[in-house]
């Protein structure tokens, strides 16, 4: 959450605020990564600490109130237009580009997948799996920071109580729908983008049909369970039969790799 408290005028404060926010979020992500990679804490618990305590810190900073930003340039991040397109699209494209370049043109993506499928084996193969894990969490924190900037710039305020509340499931859902395995070991960045679009369509649909917005939570929970079930080998064996399973997963995997 950034609060650009400067007077209107130069763009200096804007960049300062953005840089500060991104550094803080990367540090926070790095902290999670440190807990997971060096202390060996389960990721779910390590990140749960900040899920609650982080919100506590945010509330502490804003005093539990919504801090409104009176600084016009700040609005550009989430609400501005560039070449007739919302500026936030360019941010997304930029982040995606960096992620794709890093993971698909360098060995980094391979390393991440290998750590995901077996950290010990990767370590024995000479991959510094601890640093990879640290880096991944750092990047996740950094991305969450960018998301936070877009979100708060869109409404020109910082809300420690509600900003990003329950985004965790949305994010996980987008990734899972996109075909990334929850067990780790394979990921599809473009699938994630499509997953995010599907979720937003779902949300928009629910809003426009006129049912209470809170029902969203129920729908999303059901969708995430269904997608998880579809990923589970046991479930597929039961539903699609044992013989077919091996063939279809084999095909799917090769398709997936070639797609990305």
């Amino acid at each position: 959450m950034t609060v650009a408290s400067a007077e209107t005028g130069g763009l200096g404060p804007l960049f300062e605020a953005i840089a500060l926010a991104l550094v803080v979020s990367a540090l926070v992500g790095g902290w999670n990564g440190l807990l997971v990679s060096r202390f060996g804490v389960q990721p779910i618990v390590a990140t749960l600490i900040l899920m609650v305590a982080g919100r506590g810190v945010a509330q502490l900073i804003t005093g539990g109130q919504i801090t409104t930003v009176y600084y016009d340039p700040y609005n550009f991040i989430g609400g501005g237009y560039l070449l007739a397109l919302p500026f936030s699209i360019f941010i997304v494209a930029f982040v995606l580009l960096i992620a794709v370049l890093l993971t698909r043109t360098t060995a980094l993506g391979l390393f991440i997948e290998s750590v995901g499928s077996n950290p010990d084996a990767s370590r024995l193969a000479g991959i510094n799996s601890k640093n990879i894990m640290l880096m991944v969490y750092l990047f996740s924190g950094f991305c969450a920071g960018i998301g936070g900037l877009i979100l708060s710039s869109n409404v020109m305020s910082a809300d420690g109580n509600n900003a990003g509340l329950w985004f965790e499931l949305d994010a996980i859902l987008a990734v899972v729908i996109g075909g990334t395995s929850l067990m780790g070991g394979r990921f599809y960045l473009f699938g994630t983008i499509i997953g995010a679009l599907i979720i937003q369509s779902l949300t928009t649909t629910i809003y426009s049909i006129g049912v209470p917005a809170e029902i969203n939570l129920v729908v999303k929970a059901v969708v995430v369970l269904i997608v998880c079930l579809l990923q589970s080998p046991e479930f597929r064996r039961k539903v699609f039969g044992a013989g077919k399973l091996k063939k279809s997963t084999g095909q799917k995997e090769s398709e997936g790799v070639s797609l990305s």
């Binding site: 618990v45 899920m51 329950w166 499931l169 809170e214 129920v218 995430v224 589970s232």
Partner: protein, 328 residues
Amino acid sequence: MINRLSLDYKQLPLIATIALFVLMFSFGSLRYTGFFSTQVFLNLFIDNAFLIVVAVGMTFVILSGGIDLSVGSVIALTSMVAASLTMEAQLSPMIVVPISLLVGTVLGILQGSLIHFYNLQPFIVTLAGMFLARGLSYVISVETISIDHPFFSYMASTRIPIPGDNFISISVVIAVIIVIAAIFLGHFTKFGRTVYAIGGSEQSAMLMGLPVGRTKILIYTLSGFCASLAGLIFTFYMLSGYGLHANGMELDTIAAVVIGGTLLTGGAGYVAGSVVGVLILGIIQTIIVFEGTLSSWWTKIAIGVLLFLFIALQRIIVVRSEKRQGKK
């Protein structure tokens, strides 16, 4: 590796926790007048009876190496179901209470079955359960439903006097019964031993012929039931149902269990330890109230910091004991 560890390793976190509790209580007593009294101590139980009950259920889940993130939402859903059935459907508490208790139990069975039969990770299943329960309570109503019923008022305001001019509430009695039952269940029954065995190593437990699947489903059912019971106690305490009740209670519960000395990886820990863990969370809150100038957000931050410290302590202990075993 983790199964055959010496006693001192298993008990160190618990000893640290009890020492911390004594330390914090004496700190409070020295700093604030009126802090050192039996009633302040008993109030810890009265204000945290629901947390004790959830933490007991969570202890079994964490002992088995799993996690249940849905408990906070189940509390909200139970309070919502109880409130709407009492106030809108005008049902008698004789029907409302069993139905409310069923809510979490059924959700627990579902979650346990998904985790066992389809081999899904506990965290994603219970995360979905968390959102499902929270969403369902909003489906019932987005607004707060306050309860005005003789039975609920009776449960909320009855004071059971105990010697020395002090009192406890009915909720405390329920919580104490649950704790005693859980200690019995955990340490003196086949179910309890199986839970520890699964936490130590699920593979070994399976090879030993223990009923792993049944136990796993039962663990999540138990946790769901405890969460529902806690939801009822919470409803007695707040006298209302609201979809945002017990927001973030998952962390409090997990923190209480971990601070109480249960290993996050499963296989070692005590139900009684979780009770001490809850008391520590309670005393943080009490100190913040007595201090008066601190905002409630500090509670969240303090719990987060404390949780981190105890996780660090656990890691040090595990690493040390692994090293020691390596030497042997």
